[in-house]
Symmetry: C2
Subunit: 217 residues, 2 copies
């Protein structure tokens, strides 16, 4: 239906959209996709011809409903594959993204639906990001950032904001993985670094920078 490249553009534009009506700029797309602005202009024209987005010269772009649908289905496939890689094939959460970037472009409705069923209809990927449904609907997750949690309240690590490989590797090393039960037991006044207790036993310290990038519920 749509090419590998078209799907990647739509996904990038979707993620860059604020839904405030302000068009996504050519440069921001180019930066996000690690390509040049001239290439983006070319592709934008093509996607506009296909009614996947609205484009006015020099004004940036906004996805149409059709464009959003394609983006959401691609994100859905990406995240379902990530669950498969993590849960079934035991990939680390820092390893799943790269492979899922390829798998998300496999064309087969049947495949993704059967995979979804095989995995028990997961609602979140291994980074805690919600998986859109077949019709693009999100069950919003209402997670909060760990640096806003009050002391002595039990929470569960449910997602991350920073998805970078080094960050994910760091968290894994200090046993902060998805589903981890934890409690903030001390908030340092000076730098807002935190002392946590994991599983009611081990105590660890994390910086505010790290805490800001962890989501809990």
């Amino acid at each position: 239906m749509y090419s590998f490249t078209e799907e990647n553009y739509l996904k990038a534009i979707y993620k860059l959209s604020d839904n405030d009506g302000n068009g996504v700029s050519t440069n921001s797309i180019a930066e996000n996709m690690e390509t040049k602005a001239a290439s983006v202009t070319d592709m934008i024209k093509k996607l506009s011809d296909k009614k996947l987005l609205k484009y006015e010269k020099y004004k940036g772009v906004n996805l149409t409903q059709k464009g959003k649908d394609v983006a959401l289905q691609t994100i859905r496939k990406h995240r379902i594959w990530e669950v498969f890689l993590h849960e079934k094939l035991k990939f680390g959460w820092e390893e799943v993204h790269e492979v899922a970037e390829q798998l998300e472009h496999i064309q087969s409705e049947l495949l993704i639906n059967k995979l979804d069923e095989f995995l028990g209809y997961p609602t979140h990927d291994p980074h805690g990001d919600p998986i859109p449904g077949e019709n693009g609907e999100f069950h919003s997750n209402a997670f909060v950032s760990l640096d806003t949690v009050e002391a002595n309240k039990k929470v569960i690590l449910s997602g991350v904001i920073n998805h970078s490989v080094p960050f994910l590797q760091h968290l894994k090393k200090i046993d902060l993985t998805l589903g981890q039960k934890l409690m903030v037991i001390e908030i340092n006044e000076y730098d807002r670094s935190l002392k946590l207790v994991l599983n009611g036993k081990i105590e660890i310290f994390i910086s505010n920078e790290v805490a800001k990038n962890i989501l809990v519920k």
Copy 2:
């Protein structure tokens, strides 16, 4: 490493090779890949430059060891994915090929090895074709065609020669699927059609044409 298209050419040439030193003809490749001879010539030159095959004008091509390795790894990936689709996602054996044609091109050594482990190191795909190992080695399967089996000998359906969707659908409809235990109980002298008994219970008739395309052990 190699493009989608390059892998497909190498796979097709591998399958068309007799290993008798006779080059594979341009036309046979074109026919097999449903493309034009001129396109094949272009691609052949490219693959020859990359030392994946030996090419002399008007003499056809032969894969080098390097070319065979790439072809075998692609076939390995294809067949492992077919097992996954059939065993885990419950695709019919007539449905797996098309999707595996896409999945075989995903680039990740780690992925295919972890998938192989997840599936318990299968030796054959859902059509009974052997799965090459990591180093391209085959455990040859020594199956025989059902039309050569003597009467009253218990055998197990272990593969097919004809891989077409209609043929596979037909077999499934009459309960002839991989692993089915059966016995030839009557061989018609006139047209060499067969009467079979399945699981020691149900009796069915099949034509010689069908029998020739079924492999048993």
